[in-house]
Symmetry: C2
Subunit: 231 residues, 2 copies
């Protein structure tokens, strides 16, 4: 009885993670192709389009797995549409640079979140998730472009640092919302931990810590937010 319950909880968690990740990669495809459309040069348009198409390839892999599991992809994704759409609506980049930072910081923190869930699931799901979250080359492109922009005009660093912190706040807020609203995910994340909230809280601290490396890579850590920009 306990085993059965555990395996059904596990299956719900797998479907939830795959559904969430499917809609996230589909949204990622839309965002990257929109960024590509407004990129200033043809080589940048092509570089971003390649990332968009790679992201769509990840979406297809996830869809294939949902179909193998006889799960309707539409039904699996739908619960996560509001949280992801809300994240994107609340974090519309004001320009090209903010778009790049969003692609790198937002995708990075989401990927960490998905990997933490996958770690609680079966090896096959873990492999698929790690595959799908494999770097599309986006990171290098963003780091080069953001560092170039800061060298050219050091004053953008403060604005971008503030923007990156806002993205992290919004991403954690939506991740918390998803974890709280989906019982199967909440149970999974808290599994084996009598003090459930403690475990979820620690997970979110780990997400924030992991983000520091990305901020440093962009050259945004040593830049304090200028007082005038503080809300």
């Amino acid at each position: 009885m306990i085993d059965l319950q555990h395996s059904s909880e596990h299956a719900d968690g797998v479907v939830d993670l795959l559904g969430l990740l499917s809609y996230a990669t589909l949204s990622g495809f839309f965002r990257l192709s929109a960024d590509a459309a407004v990129a200033a040069s043809l080589p940048d348009k092509i570089a971003l389009s390649e990332m968009a198409v790679a992201e769509y390839g990840h979406f297809r892999q996830l869809l294939g797995r949902l179909e193998q599991l006889n799960v309707d992809p539409d039904a699996a994704m739908r619960p996560f549409v509001p949280a992801l759409d809300a994240f994107h609506a609340r974090t519309r980049p004001a320009d090209w640079l903010e778009g790049l930072v969003k692609a790198y910081v937002g995708d990075g923190i989401s990927a960490d979140f998905y990997r933490m869930i996958a770690d609680l699931l079966d090896p096959r799901t873990q492999t698929l998730v790690n595959d799908v979250l494999a770097d599309t080359g986006q990171a290098d492109f963003v780091i080069v472009r953001v560092r170039e922009a800061i060298t050219e005009n050091p004053s953008v660093a403060g604005r971008l640092a503030l923007w990156a912190r806002r993205l992290v706040g919004e991403a954690l807020g939506q991740a918390q919302r998803v974890a709280a609203e989906r019982e199967s995910l909440a149970r999974l994340l808290a599994s084996g931990d009598p003090g459930q909230r403690g475990k979820i809280g620690r997970m979110f601290s780990r997400l924030t810590d992991a983000n520091s490396g990305r901020m440093a890579a962009l050259g945004l850590t040593s830049h304090r937010v200028p007082p005038a920009d503080r809300p």
Copy 2:
């Protein structure tokens, strides 16, 4: 001497056609992915994204051929950016249905134009162009959705018929601009014809004729533009 001149004219024509078609497919990818992002349902989002990614595959094939010919893709595409961007700026769909009609009618007439140029070139270029212009499944999707919309609300037919005619006018205008501005294309299109303008004129009549079939497929032919909608 004549042969050499002919072959250099031919080579310029090939590069121009590949450059034009490359930027057209890249723009097509941007437009289709933007349409997918605003589609109302997840299945429609997926169907349009699949078409967008197929279009990007065509772009890659063209890019590969330009690289084989040792031509810088950026330089090959750049001359055609203004005309294609102008076409898209002048024909921004007001809603989802206008976007669908644009995808079908606009892409259809462009494909006819590209095929007519390819027919004047070598078999290898012809094969590539026909490959790249192969239907991505978009046509069936659009026909079904537009016919559904007309059945649901017959009054949209008049508006869409007017819109389709505007698209054809804008497409022919930009095609004429491209043919006139690029000497190598103009020479190619007029090749072997002492009355050059006559030949190009007949080509444009053929483009208009070929469009009637698409209008009929959408169920838009029998619908006269209502007097109130006339400009």
